[in-house]
């Protein structure tokens, strides 16, 4: 019924297909790399679901930007989405600190309301325009090669979507390297960071801005919810393999290459959407890491636990 080998080779058989698929794969790598890098810090701070919240919260920003300017061009949409994403994050922070609401309730309340506002505006005003809600929910990375060509000073420079994503990916990498120290200390020990004189609150907001930027850049290709998968899967999988944060950050690159290639071929093989099959590839890679990972995998974990229990005689729960 399915021929694995054929579907693997088919995708790379002709010259056009190689170019077409390379663009998709490259896009996938950049999306999951930038999501993964931001995701590492987000997961470490136990704010994993914030990615979900912000990625839903940008919807009204996109719709309002569209309504104001009447076009889906990159500039206004990105600005609107970034403002909405930051507004969503600030709302959550305000509700959490200034009202009796708990963090989870504040998060759930804010992002669902933002999302509902976005949908209402969308259905009221945009109607049948190609800002399709389903597309926002699961994106279409497969259409990357159809993006218009970027022309700089009359010289064609290649796919515009790729350039946009590439810039965001570069910005993420640079800011991760530059602010690595600050991000590291504030993630693990806020009081130490404060005593070292680091601006903890502004680092928090800076991370949120980066998160919003990455989410906005990638939602078009992988959709609102699968951004969350791309954000959580790399750090969580590699945390079973490595102990130190730099290793986990570095392992995002090979993981994102695997996700992208695996997702593409799974999609060709089973006729799935590419973005969803990237997430499924991620889950498939996560499973062995979680079961057999040297750093706290389920099977390795129980062994070391029982040794500790035997040697110390203390019940560990």
């Amino acid at each position: 019924m399915f021929n694995l080998v054929e579907s693997l080779i088919d995708a790379w058989s002709t010259h056009e297909q190689v170019i077409w698929n390379l663009q998709i794969v490259f896009m996938g790598i950049m999306v999951s790399l930038s999501c993964g890098l931001v995701g590492c810090f987000v997961v470490v701070r136990r704010m994993a679901l914030l990615g979900d919240a912000v990625s839903h919260g940008i919807l009204p920003g996109i719709v309002i930007a569209y309504l104001l300017t009447g076009s889906l061009s990159v500039g206004p949409v990105w600005i609107g989405a970034c403002i909405a994403g930051l507004g969503c994050g600030a709302c959550i922070e305000w509700l959490r600190t200034k009202t009796p609401l708990r963090e989870d309730a504040a998060m759930g309340l804010t992002f669902t309301s933002f999302f509902a506002l976005g949908i209402v505006l969308l259905s009221l005003e945009v109607g049948q325009v190609h800002l399709d809600p389903a597309c926002i929910l699961y994106g279409e990375i497969g259409l990357t090669p159809l993006a218009p060509e970027l022309v700089l000073w009359g010289v064609p420079c290649g796919n515009q979507a790729l350039w946009n994503m590439g810039l965001v990916c570069l910005a993420t990498m640079i800011s991760t390297v530059v602010f690595y120290r600050f991000l590291l200390v504030t993630s693990f020990d806020t009081s130490l960071a404060r005593s070292l004189g680091m601006p903890v609150a502004s680092i928090q907001y800076g991370l949120m801005l980066l998160l919003a930027l990455v989410v906005v850049a990638s939602f078009e290709s992988v959709g609102v919810i699968l951004v969350l998968a791309m954000m959580i899967l790399p750090p969580v999988s590699s945390s079973f393999l490595f102990r130190r944060l730099p290793n986990i950050l570095l392992s995002c690159l090979p993981l994102s290459i695997l996700y992208s290639l695996g997702g593409l071929h799974l999609a060709y093989w089973m006729n799935f959407p590419i973005s969803a099959s990237m997430a499924i590839t991620g889950v498939v890679i996560f499973l062995p890491c979680c079961l057999f990972g040297p750093n706290g995998g389920i099977f390795t974990n129980t062994k070391s636990l029982s040794i500790q229990e035997g040697s110390k005689g203390i019940p560990i729960n």
């Binding site: 997961v43 136990r46 994993a48 679901l49 990615g51 979900d52 839903h56 009204p60 309002i64 309504l67 200034k98 009202t99 009796p100 609401l101 708990r102 989870d104 309730a105 998060m107 759930g108 309340l109 669902t112 309301s113 999302f115 509902a116 506002l117 949908i119 209402v120 505006l121 259905s123 009221l124 005003e125 109607g127 809600p133 389903a134 929910l137 699961y138 919810i225 699968l226 969350l228 998968a229 959580i232 899967l233 969580v236 945390s239 079973f240 089973m270 006729n271 799935f272 959407p273 969803a276 099959s277 997430a279 499924i280 991620g282 889950v283 979680c290 706290g296 389920i298 974990n301 129980t302």
Partner: protein, 495 residues
């Protein structure tokens, strides 16, 4: 014309109230009998004339009550994002249910969805128990993983089976319009189950939610109760999924319960309130989406409940943000007033109460503030009726500015003596009973003097045996002194 204005106004108000953002609204088509039309529509809705309106309104109310009741438990156990996870995790189950039954058979879809929601919850608790993963990463993983699987399966089914799958996408966004009376049966069933469970297991659920270790030590099957709650939650989500969609189900779980949590701290009342709020927003959202064309009911219901939440958050008379801000402001103003009056007393005391009034510059010197600041403080006192001001011209040296003389009214005098008494009594109490050093007590007394009431002052006087002198040797004014005129009362009568 009226409808146009009304539509614009309402949308603008809703948006402004929610996010203070400007919005652009396109002009609606104007027909001749719009006024009639609008009233007619409202009348038709609220009399439930059509059977379709009956079904839709009933469905919205039922969903509101179901989600509100379940949400009360979910939010109070800090599991708000759990509802969101569960509502995404049921997606592959729906696809599998369809694959097995080969039709949109309600029962098969529901069994599949409940089962897959359950697998999701199971995976979360396994990951939490056997690995070092934190709850939020585990939830995010299950949410996105199951959702991706669900989308893949649904896309695959749509591509392979053609038109038969047309309805499955409605699980993503939901639609109230296509509701038939058959769809109400699972909702009623779910409501009955929830109420039955809550009535029978009220005490057990309460205990296991708020203090699981105590509940375990009493011998309650805590895990079983959790399990029971998950089944109910999954059933509640699955039954409302088709009507309002994946994302907005979690909104209906969280928002009414969070609103109720602002109003009360008692669990039974919280459940009642959040059920009522859910039903209320359900019917209002339905009405709005019935009035305005193209307005989808689910998001409007969510926006209504968010609006209610914000209203309660800001205007709730007990703990609302606006009332408590006003209270804080008033208290601050009172304390500033009392501090100025106290300084007035001290200025008069320096001159051994020889005169009724004192100059504004002496007060400024006493408080170590600029003349302009003192001027403002005195203005406040005069506005409140605590003091009066006379302008006295110094005749000989006309190049000097005129001098303002302040005198206190009886009510101002009373507050001033009371503050001084509170302050000095507290200082004495700290030195005598708490053995503070005399030079350490001032700051503490400075804060407490505004707070302690008449009753505490009597108690202090009794403990300290009606003292006359404070630790710094100054007189503590008592009611007796003022009554007999030993301390000079002001001669100015209140205006």
């Amino acid at each position: 014309m009226f409808l146009l204005i009304w539509k614009r106004l309402r949308c603008a108000l809703l948006l402004l109230a929610l996010f203070w953002m400007p919005c652009v609204l396109s002009a609606a088509q104007i027909s001749s009998n719009l006024e009639q039309d609008w009233i007619n529509k409202a009348f038709r809705f609220w009399t439930f004339a059509d059977s379709s309106i009956q079904v839709i309104a009933l469905g919205a109310i039922l969903i509101g009550i179901n989600c509100g009741l379940m949400g009360g438990y979910v939010v109070s156990r800090r599991l708000s994002m759990f509802g969101d996870t569960l509502s995404h995790a049921v997606l592959p189950g729906i696809a599998v249910g369809f694959m097995i039954s080969q039709s949109r058979d309600e029962v098969a879809l529901m069994i599949g969805a409940t089962f897959s929601g359950f697998v999701g919850v199971g995976i979360i608790s396994l990951l939490k128990r056997y690995t070092k993963m934190k709850e939020d990463s585990a939830m995010g993983l299950v949410l996105s993983g199951f959702y991706a699987l669900g989308i893949c399966l649904i896309t695959y089914l749509q591509k392979s089976s053609g038109g038969g799958m047309a309805g499955l996408e409605s699980y993503l966004f939901g639609s109230l319009v296509g509701l038939s009376s058959d769809d109400l049966i699972p909702l009623c069933l779910c409501l009955a189950m929830i109420i039955l469970c809550f009535v029978l297991l009220n005490k057990e659920l309460l205990l296991s939610g708020f203090d699981p270790s105590f509940a375990r030590s009493v011998g309650l099957p805590v895990d079983l109760l959790h399990f029971c709650l998950w089944i109910l939650l999954a059933f509640c989500i699955v039954s409302s999924l088709q009507i309002i969609g994946v994302v907005l189900v979690s909104a209906l779980l969280i928002i009414p319960a969070a609103t109720a949590g602002l109003l009360t701290h008692k669990m039974s009342r919280l459940l009642l309130f959040s059920g009522i709020l859910g039903a209320l927003t359900g019917i209002i959202g339905c009405f709005l989406s019935f009035l305005v064309e193209r307005l989808p009911a689910g998001p409007v219901i969510v926006l209504c409940s968010a609006f209610l939440f914000l209203t309660v958050l800001f205007f709730n008379p007990v703990r609302g943000i606006l009332p408590s801000w006003i209270r804080t402001r008033k208290r601050g103003q009172r304390i500033r007033c009392e501090n100025t009056l106290k300084a007035c007393y001290q200025v008069l005391e320096e001159s051994s109460f020889s005169s009724q009034s004192f100059s504004q510059t002496s007060l400024a010197r006493r408080r170590r503030k600029s003349d302009a600041e003192i001027e403002r403080e005195i203005d406040v006192l005069i506005r409140e009726g605590y003091a009066t001001r006379q302008i006295i011209l110094l005749e000989q040296k006309s190049e000097l500015p005129s001098e303002n003389m302040i005198s206190l009214t009886p009510s101002g005098w009373e507050i001033a003596t009371r503050m001084i008494r509170n302050h000095r009594l507290w200082e004495l109490y700290l030195t005598k009973e708490a053995s503070y050093a005399p030079d350490h007590v001032h700051d503490d007394a400075e804060k407490i003097e505004h707070i302690i009431g008449e009753k505490t002052v009597r108690e202090l006087e009794r403990i300290l045996d009606n003292p006359r002198r404070d630790p710094h040797g100054k007189l503590i004014p008592s009611q007796n002194d003022i009554d007999r005129g030993w301390l000079s009362p002001p001669l100015v009568t209140e205006k």
